[in-house]
């Protein structure tokens, strides 16, 4: 399923998915006279990694703050399993903001236990959860260290543990990959996939589209507070005009019909086929192999950043405005 905003007419409007745990409808919010969320619709399904993607200032952090009741939106509804979200529902959610979000003077274990207790977890369970998480995150021997004494990477793992210590049904991570080295990215990706593998819901934001494209199963791309593309990533890619099959065989111009694709370029050593929207690359390859010997082939799919720019169309001003409240010149969205 795919959706789009104006400018991406080839995608159907969003309808609430029946299997969605989180459904956001018509969410709008202004800071002064600047609209930061504009009739935003999206869903999050359990058991799938959902990426909230977009450039800096697109409205990602504001959306997450609205989800957690930190900001009250001007309009729109948010439901969880079909019911309006309230503080009791949010108590079963976990949130990791992009910037710190920890008392640096506190010891890691104490901090996690305290946060779990805020989520209405009893102290013995909170302590057990915290110790287990610290162990899983490789911080068992640093449990009694003050957070300010930990390295940046360790502190970020504690931050992740803080969002997960109450075993939330829904985990929301704001720019979790920002500033991480490749090893840390791999580690965090493992944590994310592990969470959804348990059938739970997860939404994370990122402005580094290409960095996270292998992790996302569903995406919600936003720009200027509006959804420009959303849905299952495999389906979205299949619907793209920007997919190519390259084979080391020379094809005739009329060899493929329009349901398969069109011949893009032919050289002495091979052919580049622009796949039709929705066409199965494997089927097309089989058709080519029926008439030619193919020893080498490749399927090129659009990167997320290319899909994002394609979705914007004429609206593709790459200089996204910072998310600034003009009234107080604040409430900016962190990079």
């Amino acid at each position: 399923m795919a959706t789009s905003s104006p400018g991406t007419s080839h995608l159907a409007p969003l309808a609430a998915r029946s299997d969605a745990t989180l459904t956001i409808s018509g969410l709008s919010h202004r800071f002064g006279d600047r609209r930061v969320l504009d009739q935003l619709d999206c869903t999050v399904q359990p058991g799938r990694v959902t990426g909230l993607l977009g450039p800096n200032g697109a409205g990602k952090t504001t959306l997450m703050r609205v989800l957690f009741g930190v900001i009250v939106p001007d309009a729109g509804t948010i439901t969880w399993h079909g019911q309006p979200v309230n503080p009791d529902v949010r108590r079963n959610w976990g949130y990791m903001p992009q910037e710190r979000g920890l008392y640096t003077d506190m010891r890691a274990l104490d901090h996690l236990v305290w946060l779990a207790q805020l989520h209405a977890i009893d102290r013995p369970t909170a302590r057990a959860n915290a110790e287990r998480l610290l162990g899983e995150l490789g911080l068992a021997d640093r449990a009694n260290d003050r957070i300010r004494d930990l390295s940046g990477g360790m502190a970020q793992r504690v931050q992740l543990a803080a969002a997960m210590v109450h075993d939330p049904e829904f985990l929301v991570l704001d720019e979790p990959f920002a500033g991480l080295d490749p090893t840390a990215v791999k580690f965090l990706s493992g944590v994310i996939t592990g969470h959804v593998a348990a059938g739970k819901s997860l939404l994370f934001s990122s402005h580094q589209l290409d960095l996270v494209e292998d992790l996302c199963e569903s995406i919600v791309m936003i720009h200027h507070g509006r959804v420009v593309m959303s849905g299952d990533l495999v389906t979205l890619r299949a619907d793209s005009d920007d997919r190519y099959l390259e084979v080391d065989a020379v094809l005739a111009d009329d060899e493929l019909d329009e349901t398969a694709g069109t011949i893009g370029s032919v050289t002495a050593t091979g052919t580049r086929v622009q796949l039709a929207r929705g066409a199965d690359a494997g089927d097309v390859l089989d058709r080519v192999r029926a008439n030619h010997r193919v020893r080498s082939f490749a399927v090129t799919q659009p990167r997320l950043s290319e899909m994002f720019l394609a979705a914007l169309g004429d609206d593709a001003d790459t200089d996204a405005d910072p998310e600034v409240d003009p009234e107080v010149d604040a409430a900016r969205e962190p990079a």
């Binding site: 009250v72 920890l102 805020l118």
Partner: protein
Amino acid sequence: MNRITRLVAQREILETGRKKAFWISTALLFLGSVALMVIPEFVGGGNDDVTFATAGSVSADVITAITDTAATVDIDVTIEQAATVEAARQLVVDGDADFGLVGDPDGVVTILQRTDEVTVIVPITQEVLRRTAADRIFSTAGVDQAVVDRVSNLAPATVETVDTERGGRQATAFGLTIIMYLLIMLLSQGIATSVATEKANRVSEVLLAVAPTRSLLFGKVIGMGALGLASIFVGALPIIVKTIIASDMPEGMGTTLASSALWVIGGIVIYLLLAAMLGALADRTEEVGGTIAPLTVALIAIYIVSLSTLETTVGVVLSIVPISSPIVMPARIAVGAATAPQIVASVVCLVVGTVVAARLAIVVYSRALVRTGKRLRLMEVLRSPS
């Protein structure tokens, strides 16, 4: 107190209790208080010793009378006989003698003192000399010795103190004003810095996602307030112990302290709420001094004005207005200047003021915490949508 408020307050208390700075400041407060109690016992305690350098015609009777009279007020007099009047003067100038007593050939005795400092030995000596001169005149005039003796032995007029508690109450009032001023100033700066740090660290964002704003704010106020009161109690402990052991607590102090409790607690709550609110306006902790300045300036002004206006109309007004009553009303009660209607009005205003401060603080705190990027102004936060 709900669960989250209690958890927030507990965290404030436990984490602050783990900081060396808290224990150092509390220990300094305790040691300072101990010093205040102990040092006077060693410095200037016990009998005073006074040395007189005498020269010229000063009779033995006069010296004996001075020595005996001084002894009744615990002053030991030592006499050092100088060869000449000038020598006696020099002893006083050099500090070898505290006073000089020099007589001229006509029997007129002059008291020499190094500075114009007023001490009790001078009027004692003057009285002895006056009495001796009077005896001589009576004798010369042929007055019966029995009459002379009766005149000499006339007891001074009895002095009756009609308000025995006033001294203690005034001391208590003075002490309460200073303590409240310092306590509120320290706690206000502490909570404002704490709130600004949480905002800068984005801790507040995590907490707001899981806890109601009022629980976070009230928990912080309760935790910080409890720590402040605990510090003051530790600081006051030596004074309390000494007054209990020595049984020399000034009269009226107990009732004054008890009746002041409401304003002490109310004052701490109001100021901590407002300080937390103003702390949330800062974007960086370095800006806290600026955002909290209106409160600290008001506090300093109230303290200074209250020192000289306790029993005036200005004092009455200050003791009723909620922002100043916690500093002024306990002191006015202590000196007995507050009337029952004024006390009732002050209590009502304090309660209303606390509720208003709490509502205002919640609104500003919740809006300002999520607005980052620059230092905020109070009015623009109040005008902005929630």
